[in-house]
Assembly symmetry: C2
């Protein structure tokens, strides 16, 4: 991006902040590009911008959506998104998918997807940032979410593919986590990793139309039963299982209703704030851990790996290895 | 403990190591006490001892046992332990329960428990180490496990209470994780936290005797069904649900058989070694993180809390807070 060199860093940050707060989509897009940049200069501006916008963040409902490929995620988001904007809410759709780079093409970058939603003036769709590490991509997505909030978006929807570690990252930045499942698909087809179902605040059985209705209703009962054993969280909210069809536009409003109900429930129990505070502190700790790791690696690229090898070979106890690494770090 | 001052540290470590390797129960007990000590001098000897014994460790089957209070954990361990020693295996029983200190009395310290097993020459029972933090207790338990292995114990059983974070710690140090559940008890009674069932390699429905048999068989089917949705792990092992009665001594041998079957399965798939390597590396990282945390706190007790407060109040972004903390640490 072109930044006029006569502007001071402070003035640049100020201009970005004003544009974002006023909801200017072009400035918002540029600010996100800045955030995704790994150039030191850009990062420095991005950090100041985030800090400046912090008081304007936190007012959206943050929703994570996951599901195996084939569960109908993009169709769902298109229809669900249209519903949200139809009730006069501004919606931002982000995605987190570090693998998309390898598979050539971001999951939201595909122009044929979410065609209607992408033309909706109340919707803002941003493709997956490219990046090598989940940590980097997750970080950019989290900051993008804050920018969208400062730009006045009421709902931020973060999509993830449901087959890897990115769900944990998304779960760590949203208020409500929705899992999409396909009725009657075998376990292999579902491709949902162990541990993902337990993170869900709600499950939606997709494609519940035509001949699928019966299977979907059966799956709904099955999942509700399974969730029963997974116990409600401390929030006071018991995860729900619903069915929907993006094709026949049924069950869509019910998903939104469920999320509203959830918000009411966890706001009154205090767990909404608790979760957000917890997420913020976790972000701080993660960021600090990343810095430590970077510092360790800067001392010598092989240091960490060398210690790990010695530990695995029983040449050094884990505790002694930690002590020696610490000593190296402080030198 | 009394250490003759004329012995060098090296000689002390040597004496301890020889005693442990020869299987001397008195030396083993003293070594564990040394490990649990927080005195700098003791810690230094303990670390050298662990390092010296490393080549003699790793040969036991490590089993974690958890279950809510009332699920019959101690009765099960007594009967299951007797079965293990009856097939000529040496068994060590440890416990991890940082809360036991507050409730006055360690869960294994209670003399009326495991009366028979505690008199068994092939069994070694060690009460929960006292300690304020789960981290400290878990650390001592992990080292104690290594000492027991060096002392020739074939099976190490680690008990945990099933209501808190200690399950995650135990799951991180054992090969097989067994969850005990009571048939027909309400969810509140079960008291099993969300996320614990997914860690289990096997579930045993306890007290399946008399009028309970029917309920237990129903619970077995229910849990098997729920586990189905939780997907088998990458290890190739699909978690099993069994019923047992410590009273009528039924289903006990089957638990041991299941663990043997599990071991065979994961050894041939390579996931046994993979898990152990992963656990060792995780220990190293945890140990390093603990050192970093200690260092941060040593700079100023309030530093971390001060930054957290600023982050929560939106006065500082998590990233900036991390950077500033890092700078303080390196000063």
């Amino acid at each position: 991006m072109v930044i006029k060199t006569r502007l001071t860093k402070r003035a640049i940050v100020q201009k970005f902040a004003e544009g974002v707060i006023r909801g200017d989509r072009v400035v918002l897009s540029r600010a996100i590009t800045l955030i995704e940049s790994s150039r030191t200069n850009d990062r420095s501006i991005a950090e100041d911008l985030i800090e400046k916008l912090l008081p304007h963040t936190g007012k959206s409902v943050r929703i994570g959506v996951t599901g195996a490929p084939g569960a109908g995620k993009s169709t769902f988001i298109e229809v669900f998104g249209k519903y949200i904007t139809s009730v006069h809410k501004k919606l931002a759709v982000l995605a987190i998918d570090p693998s998309s780079q390898k598979t050539k093409g971001s999951i939201l970058g595909d122009k044929t997807r979410m065609e209607e939603l992408s033309r909706d003036p109340r919707a803002f769709i941003r493709p997956t940032p490219t990046g090598d590490s989940l940590g980097g991509v997750a970080h950019a997505t989290r900051e993008t979410m804050l920018l969208c909030e400062a730009a006045g978006y009421d709902v931020v929807l973060i999509e993830t593919v449901g087959v890897g570690q990115s769900e944990v990252a998304v779960r760590g930045m949203v208020d409500f986590f929705l899992l999409l499942m396909l009725a009657g698909a075998g376990d292999e087809l579902q491709g949902i990793k162990k541990g993902i179902m337990e993170m869900a605040d709600g499950i939606a059985i997709t494609k519940a139309d035509g001949e699928n209705v019966k299977k979907a209703t059966q799956a709904q009962a099955d999942f509700q039963h399974a969730l029963h054993w997974l116990q409600p969280a401390e929030s006071g909210w018991a995860p729900k299982v619903l069915t929907l069809s993006a094709l026949s536009h049924t069950g869509i409003m019910e998903i939104w209703k469920m999320i509203e109900e959830y918000e009411q429930c966890v706001r009154s129990s205090g767990s909404f704030d608790r979760q957000r505070r917890h997420q913020k502190i976790a972000w701080f700790h993660e960021s600090f851990d990343a810095l430590i790791k970077k510092k360790v690696l800067s001392k010598s690229k092989s240091t960490l790996a060398t210690f790990e090898k010695k530990v695995l070979a029983n040449l050094l106890s884990p505790d002694k290895a930690a002590k020696q690494l610490m000593k190296k770090l402080m030198d």
